[in-house]
């Protein structure tokens, strides 16, 4: 049976129940069908088949349309910028992300908007180092040549936008094939502008820190400079830190100051970003300012002491002097601590602008303060080392001097001993072998000489032993009642008889019997007398006095010899330290006497000192305590 179908109904998809059976070639006859109604006679089975096909077509079309919408949606909502290229290199489609990234006008999706296309094509693209890419190096060119790149082979490019800003993108791409031939290409660009910026900042921060560390390591180790400024880590570090803070963080005002760990007084090292007169004011006045009173909020100081970085609130001020305050908006104060003490402080802000410090920025500041601490500690160690080296050097020199003195000492001792022995053996031999040739007086004379030399030798040996005992703290005295004047008279007599070159004059006041070691006192007197003789080589008179002034006993031995210069009056009492001068070189001796004299006198509770004038002579004074009444 034949059924007539309204063609229009068919096209419009409105199913007709009875009028099926008309099959129309839609495309070619659509226009006509709108105006005419044409009917074709078809058998029913054919008609049904046609209907089924139509339904299929409709469903497929619908599905297609849905798929297309989905695809559109995905395409548009993708975060990354997708561009589809024709084989001639021009972009055929690009999504909203592309428009946003490249700041194209807002135009409905992926229409072939020639204007936008042209704009897209006319953006300059550079590689990540800033070099403009040649035509054949563009990502689009790569994909159209059949290359695929993604992941590790993704390309980093920089787009220069018309407004001057840049976008940095990581681009992956692939060609589109059909029937084995490249018919187009796709690039997907991931906006990495922000990430790259952060990476760059981190890299810069790291580099700055390394620069800072390097400059510390490279700081002068020259010994000469060390001696001048034993401790000046701040200047170099301070300037470097404020420069880096300014450069990397972008702070406009930065200041670096040492802090005295005890008084907390500030000592500004480097300041930047203030007006010149303010800067001068800061440098002039800050060193009288204690960090404790610097900030209007007292807790700031406490926190700095606890090695905490402080962010000043806008309401807080820093008081430079009674008249001057520095307004702070968002100021960062970072402490520099070493071994628990606050030794420095870094201040940074953006003048009167707000700034919200990121954790990376705080970390950078923290790292810089840590480096400062290290630099400070290193400097201090180096200063200590230099000091220790100096002390070591001094000690070494002392040691060398002492060693020389000891060698000299032994030489002198041998000399003295042998001289004395020589006399003893010489005169003995003379008496022994030349007896007939010698008169009785001569024999007596030589015998006396032998005896004197024997005493002398004994004294020498005692001196050497005493010095050893003195050095090890073992010298002792044995007190017994002693008539000092009687002893003195005896000793002076003995010395006078063997010293024809000098006159001896004594003035002895009445003295009580004292508790003293007779042998040791003898040593003292012999020593002072022989010194007096030695140091007046042209002869003259030696005066000996004993005085009792009611408080103590004073003994004086005075000569009119060459005298002793002021600066040597103390050192002559030091072992091995016989004062050396042109004149005293004429005089030999062990140099032991006076130190032992002092030791003995002090063991008796007294004092010994010398008074002298060059060329006028010397007076040696010994005081001894009067016996305490029982």
């Amino acid at each position: 049976m034949n059924v007539g179908i309204n063609a229009i109904d068919l096209i419009n998809g409105r199913g007709t129940s009875e009028k099926r059976g008309v099959f129309m070639n839609r495309s070619s006859n659509m226009q006509r069908a709108k105006n005419e109604e044409e009917y074709i006679q078809l058998p029913l089975s054919e008609y049904k088949r046609l209907m089924a096909l139509e339904e299929e077509l409709r469903v497929t079309t619908h599905r297609e349309r849905e798929r297309m919408s989905q695809f559109e949606a995905i395409f548009e909502t993708m975060a990354d910028a997708v561009v589809v290229y024709q084989v001639d290199g021009r972009p055929s489609m690009f999504n909203r992300a592309t428009r946003e990234m490249l700041m194209l006008d807002a135009v409905p999706t992926y229409d072939q908007n020639l204007q936008s296309q042209r704009r897209l094509a006319s953006y300059t693209i550079h590689d990540e180092h800033g070099q403009m890419l040649a035509e054949e190096d563009l990502p689009s060119a790569h994909v159209l040549r059949g290359e695929t790149f993604k992941g590790s082979t993704a390309v980093d490019v920089i787009f220069n936008l018309p407004d001057g800003s840049i976008r940095q993108a990581s681009i992956s791409g692939a060609p589109i094939y059909r029937d084995g031939k490249v018919t187009g290409g796709v690039t997907i660009s991931h906006d990495v502008t922000e990430r790259r910026r952060l990476e760059k900042r981190t890299h810069e921060s790291l580099q700055s820190l390394m620069e800072l560390a390097a400059s510390i390591v490279a700081m002068p180790r020259n010994d000469e400079q060390r001696e001048e400024k034993l401790f000046n880590f701040s200047q170099v570090i301070g300037e470097k830190i404020i420069e880096l803070t300014r450069r990397v963080l972008g702070c406009t005002r930065v200041g670096f100051s040492e802090v005295d760990p005890e008084t907390y007084l500030l000592k500004p090292i480097a300041i930047t970003g203030f007006a010149p007169d303010v800067q001068k004011l800061l440098f002039d006045n800050l060193d009288q300012v204690s960090l404790a009173s610097y900030y209007s909020d007292a807790s700031v100081f406490e926190r700095l002491k606890a090695n905490e970085i402080v962010l000043l609130e806008p309401s807080q001020k820093m008081s430079v002097s009674n008249l001057t305050h520095i307004e702070c908006v968002h100021t960062l104060i970072a402490p520099i601590c070493s071994e628990g003490n606050l030794i420095g402080v870094l201040f940074a802000d953006f003048a009167n602008s707000e700034h919200f410090y990121t954790s990376e920025e705080i970390s950078l500041i923290r790292a810089m303060t840590r480096i400062s601490t290290l630099a400070y500690e290193r400097e201090r160690k180096q200063a200590e080392l230099a000091q220790a080296m100096l002390e070591l050097h001094d000690l070494n020199e002392q040691l060398v001097t002492m060693s020389k003195a000891q060698t000299n000492f032994f030489a002198i001792i041998s000399h003295e001993f042998r001289n004395t022995l020589s006399c003893i053996s010489g005169f003995s031999e003379m008496i022994n072998e030349g007896y007939e040739q010698l008169s009785a007086d001569e024999v007596r004379e030589f015998a006396t000489d032998i005896a004197n030399e024997t005493y002398r030798l004994d004294r020498l040996i005692t001196e050497v032993l005493d010095l050893e005992r003195m050095k090890s703290g073992h010298m002792t005295i044995h007190r017994a009642p002693l008539d000092l004047n009687a002893l003195m008279t005896q000793i002076i007599g003995r010395v006078a008889s063997s010293t024809p070159t000098h006159h001896f004059h004594s003035e002895l006041q009445a003295l009580p019997v004292i508790e003293a070691d007779a042998d040791r006192i003898t040593q003292v007197l012999m020593n002072l007398l022989s010194n007096a003789i030695k140091y007046s080589p042209d002869g003259g008179t030696i005066h000996v006095r004993s005085i009792n002034d009611g408080e103590r006993i004073l003994i004086q031995v005075r000569d009119c010899g060459i005298g002793i210069p002021q600066e040597a009056l103390e050192t002559i009492f030091q072992p091995y330290n016989r004062f050396d001068s042109e004149r005293t070189r004429r005089i030999n001796g062990t140099g032991l006497g006076l130190p032992i004299v002092r030791e003995i006198v002090e063991l008796h509770g007294g004092k010994v000192w010398a008074e002298s004038e060059v060329d006028q002579g010397s007076t040696f004074n010994v005081t001894l305590p009067l016996p305490t009444p029982l």
């Binding site: 000399h415 042998r418 001289n419 006399c423 003893i424 010489g426 003379m430 072998e433 004429r586």
Partner: protein
């Protein structure tokens, strides 16, 4: 005894000086003494000793320096010099020979050895006539 050519003894130790002076005068020599180099040099301007006996350890200018000085002076260089030293260490004798000394005697002095040495030196020296040495000398021929 030739007073024109005495023996010059230089020693800063007075007792030592005395000992040597006694020994020498008992043997018939004329003796002049000095207690340091400066005194010795000023004496040498006016006397012509037949021998100089010198303690090496002198205060101020030491004995060896004085020896060199004397040996460098053409007017005195022929005077024999014998070193006396109380500080006999290895190499001392060497040093004295190097400085120009003609002999070396260490203290304590052995009188026989001492006398033998100086007589030998005076006798062999070209400076003075042998007749300077007294013949009445302990019976020994020279």
């Amino acid at each position: 005894m030739n007073t024109q050519h005495p023996i010059l003894v230089i020693d800063d130790n007075l007792i030592n000086l005395k000992l040597i002076r006694v020994i020498l005068t008992k043997r018939g020599y004329e003796v002049r003494t000095a207690i340091n180099a400066m005194e010795a040099l000023s004496l040498l301007e006016s006397i012509h000793p037949s021998l100089i006996l010198m303690d090496i350890q002198l205060p101020g200018m030491d004995g060896l320096t004085l020896t060199r000085k004397i040996k460098a002076n053409p007017q005195m260089s022929a005077i024999p010099i014998v070193a006396l030293t109380a500080y006999a260490m290895k190499g001392d004798e060497e040093k004295t020979r190097e400085a120009g000394c003609d002999g070396y005697i260490s203290k304590p002095i052995d009188i026989e050895n001492f006398i033998n040495t100086i007589t030998r030196i005076i006798h062999t020296s070209t400076y003075v006539a042998p007749m300077n040495v007294p013949s009445s000398f302990w019976g020994k021929e020279v």
